[in-house]
């Protein structure tokens, strides 16, 4: 297959992505339950097996070389078996001490949050404001990262404790867990870094890989990214609601969207009422100070989580994949894609904890349902496997990875350079064309198609 034969999903905001379906399944969706009914017999899902009989590779428009050209189908199958065995090793020793770990973390987080909110009742006194705000910021970060994210991944479902279960957990975030689980667990983790299928590559508002097509609106992405960082929880809520696709008329039907949007609005309302009304009112004379403290805690949490999450898939060295390359993908190939498509953050135990162990992004993406406290012990083994198979294991310190991700956001806001033409030159020309067209009053193609104009 050649680069031109690759069926490139032109919907940069990823609205082409959808619920994963088994190969060869003709399915209908039941609008009320989201359940699907198959119409034709299906072949077994290829990702259930590591058995790999052929090397599949589909080049990308940039013509970048295949990062695993040196591996045979047998190699990939063997890699899959090794990783399966590693997962099994952890499952075999998963038990009471892991359960005690998550219970301890949840308990500590709740005490910290209660304590901090208690201190903030007196936030009119500067030391109380500082201590309370710092404590609440940390509590909110732990709640979202090490607890919420991981519980909603089903990492603790094995305990069969209905209070710590992916089906019942709700987190301290604008986005209702129901929508987050769909867009994150189901879409992002299945289609990691597949251009046109994984919306997390730039969240539909940014271009973070040179194989994503450039449009002039990406010129503003350093600014959007900064803004998104400040209000990240609302960004996630809009993203999980698939607001972008809906606005462009390519998303859910109106009825479903309205119902879902109401759920988001109600959740945001409850969250905001707690942080900006009830808690401040209870603070009496400290009313305004508590509002400020809660706003700052939410801001700190937004900035921190946004920075950590950017490091997961945006830094340099992370690979992306063509949409056609995952047709009939085996479990071994899926593992390979997770390893190459993720980046770690190196650092102290405290740093790993505060990132919800998402600093072990590679390990998390290989085994999203293993308890987060076990990633650290798996990491050296994965690194050894990467070395042995000649695969890049992307990692770096937090400042380095954040800088690298930001650099990508800034550089890729401009189109790819072409022989004899610079990034800036191409961008200027595209913008000029658009401006001239506007001035002439020519609307050109319908609005929905403008984003498909190639650089």
């Amino acid at each position: 297959m050649t680069a031109t034969a690759e069926k490139f999903d032109l919907t940069i905001d990823g609205s082409g992505a959808g619920t994963p379906q088994a190969p060869a399944a003709e399915a209908t969706t039941d609008a009320t339950t989201g359940a699907r009914t198959a119409r034709t017999p299906r072949t077994p899902n290829s990702r259930l097996s590591v058995v790999t009989t052929e090397r599949r590779y589909v080049p990308k428009p940039s013509g970048k070389p295949d990062p695993v050209a040196h591996l045979t189908a047998e190699d990939i199958e063997e890699l899959g078996r090794e990783l399966d065995a590693l997962r099994q090793e952890v499952l075999g020793s998963r038990g009471a001490s892991d359960a005690a770990y998550i219970r301890k973390v949840i308990k500590a987080q709740r005490w910290l949050e209660m304590g901090s909110r208690g201190v903030l009742l007196f936030s009119i006194f500067p030391p109380a404001w500082l201590v309370g705000t710092a404590g609440l910021s940390v509590a909110k970060i732990i709640e979202n990262m090490e607890i919420g994210h991981n519980v909603m991944h089903g990492q603790w479902d094995w305990m069969r404790d209905p209070k710590i279960h992916s089906t019942t957990w709700e987190w301290d975030n604008a986005s209702p867990s129901e929508f987050w689980k769909h867009s994150h667990n189901q879409l992002h983790h299945t289609y990691t870094n597949v251009i046109g299928r994984d919306n997390d590559l730039g969240y539909g508002i940014m271009r973070v890989d040179e194989d994503q097509r450039w449009v002039p609106s990406y010129l503003g992405q350093p600014f959007y990214n900064f803004l998104n960082m400040l209000v990240f929880e609302y960004g996630i809520a809009a993203y999980d609601l698939e607001l972008g696709a809906y606005v462009k008329g390519r998303g859910k039907d109106k009825e479903t969207f309205r119902r879902d949007a109401m759920k988001v609005v109600r959740k945001i309302g409850r969250q905001a009422r707690r942080d900006y009304v009830i808690h401040p009112v209870l603070s009496g004379p400290s009313f305004l100070h508590t509002i400020a403290a809660n706003a700052v805690a939410n801001l700190v949490r937004n900035v921190w989580t946004h920075s950590v999450i950017m490091c997961g898939h945006f830094p340099e060295g992370v690979e992306t994949f063509a949409k056609a390359s995952i047709e009939g993908e085996t479990r071994g190939e899926w593992y390979l894609r997770q390893m190459l498509g993720s980046a770690n953050i190196s650092g102290s135990k405290a740093m790993h904890f505060m990132t919800g162990n998402l600093s072990h992004q590679i390990e998390h993406h290989l085994f999203p349902d293993l308890p987060s406290n076990r990633y650290a012990e798996v990491a050296p083994k994965i690194r050894e496997i990467c070395d042995r198979y000649g695969l890049t294991y992307t990692t770096g310190s937090l400042p380095h990875q954040v800088a690298s991700a930001w650099k990508q956001v800034v550089v890729l806001s401009l189109p790819n350079p072409q022989p004899g033409r610079t990034r800036v030159g191409i961008a200027a020309e595209a913008v000029g064309k658009r401006v001239r067209r506007r001035l002439r009053g020519v609307t050109g193609m319908p609005r929905g198609r403008q984003s498909r104009v190639s650089a």
């Binding site: 359940a35 077994p44 899902n45 038990g95 667990n185 983790h189 009422r273």
Partner: protein, 362 residues
């Protein structure tokens, strides 16, 4: 308009306070925080704290439990379900209460006998420490004495089947004039509550007949007439292994006095696992035959069952639904998961295949 009385006004105030509390704790509930302070408080999910573990025999212990404030008491002979974490996994089992119905200290107790390969019973008997917090359900069961106490009673028990009977003896013995206990155990030392029963027998409160099966063999009901000549006149409560209870029901029915026998069955949660099986989706009224290599999600969808689905490879947990009964096998590692209607377990249908007949809550 009349002025509201004090009680409803207080109720309204409590409700309002609760609503404010919920606004503060959202997305969690006030209970999630209160549980940190006192998990046994009134209004909490019913829990209990094990305060003492008393050894009864080599393989049986009595767990003395302080129940939460929500405990509503029990009638002797009833059982409770307890949820205990074994290797980090919550497991629920039913045990008969053996304690006085209204102990002044408010403690309750159950007696657990370790059964071979019993995951939970062995954990409770050999590894449980005082201080452990467990989940509880309210007492239930109709294996109890009637309000009108019968004049003559026979308790036919074997092994841990003595436990509900002990609950009745400890509470009601003074109200019972004539009691025979016919109990089977491998040896004299294996008789749970052996010393207490023999003490009661020595003081003439009960007639105790022990069948030590290791030397005397299993009790045959043919011998019943010779050992308890007036057995047919007695109201009988029988508790023990299925074999004994089946035989007893047959024996009593043959004598035409089936209404004088009450039985309590301890169902061990052993599900025989096979390869593939019949999958029942009860709510949607679908029954599907699935082999041992086909995910239940695929088998169900093929038959037109509406099912939640996601990644189809076991990573997203979007397809999780409760297994209500039966056994399934994880297609990735062969791990077996079993469930019973009292103890349903959420499973990932996209990586689980039927391992024998099973029922899915869909």
């Amino acid at each position: 308009m009349s002025t509201p009385t004090a009680a409803p006004r207080r109720a309204t105030l409590v409700t309002r306070a609760l609503r404010v509390a919920e606004m503060v704790t959202t997305p969690l509930l006030p209970a999630d925080y209160l549980d940190l302070i006192n998990p046994l408080r009134a209004g909490a999910d019913l829990r209990g704290r094990i305060v003492d573990v008393r050894r009864e025999t080599v393989d049986a212990v009595t767990l003395v439990i302080r129940p939460g404030r929500g405990w509503r008491g029990h009638v002797p002979g009833q059982y409770i379900r307890i949820g205990v974490d074994v290797d980090g996994v919550r497991q629920w089992r039913a045990y008969s209460l053996t304690c006085p119905a209204s102990a002044p200290d408010g403690l309750i107790s159950v007696t657990v006998k370790a059964i071979p390969d019993g995951k939970v019973s062995n954990h409770l008997v050999r590894r449980t420490q005082p201080g452990t917090l467990i989940m509880l359900d309210q007492a239930t069961g109709d294996f109890v004495l009637p309000e009108q106490r019968p004049a003559k009673v026979l308790f036919l028990t074997a092994g841990s089947g003595i436990t509900p009977v002990m609950g009745m003896l400890r509470n009601h013995l003074d109200e019972l004039a004539d009691v025979v206990v016919l109990h089977s155990a491998p040896t004299a030392d294996d008789v749970v509550f052996g010393a207490e029963l023999r003490e009661l027998a020595a003081t003439g409160r009960i007639t105790l007949l022990e069948q030590h099966t290791e030397t005397a063999g299993l009790l045959s009901l043919e011998e019943l007439a010779s050992r308890v000549p007036d057995w047919a006149e007695r109201h009988t409560w029988a508790c023990g292994p299925t074999g004994l209870l089946d035989a007893a029901e047959e024996h009593w029915a043959a004598a035409g006095i089936g209404d004088r026998l009450r039985t309590e069955r301890f169902r061990p949660t052993v599900v025989t696992a096979g390869e593939g099986g019949t999958v029942t989706f009860a709510q949607q009224g679908q029954v599907v035959e699935a082999d041992g290599a086909t995910p239940i999600l695929d088998a169900g969808e093929e038959a037109g069952v509406l099912m939640p689905s996601g990644c189809r490879m076991g990573i997203c947990f979007g397809c999780v639904v409760p297994l209500r009964d039966g056994a399934v096998r994880d297609l990735r590692d062969g791990e077996l998961t079993t469930a019973t209607p009292e103890n349903p377990v959420p499973i990932q249908t996209c990586v689980s295949a039927a391992a024998g007949p099973c029922e899915i809550e869909l």
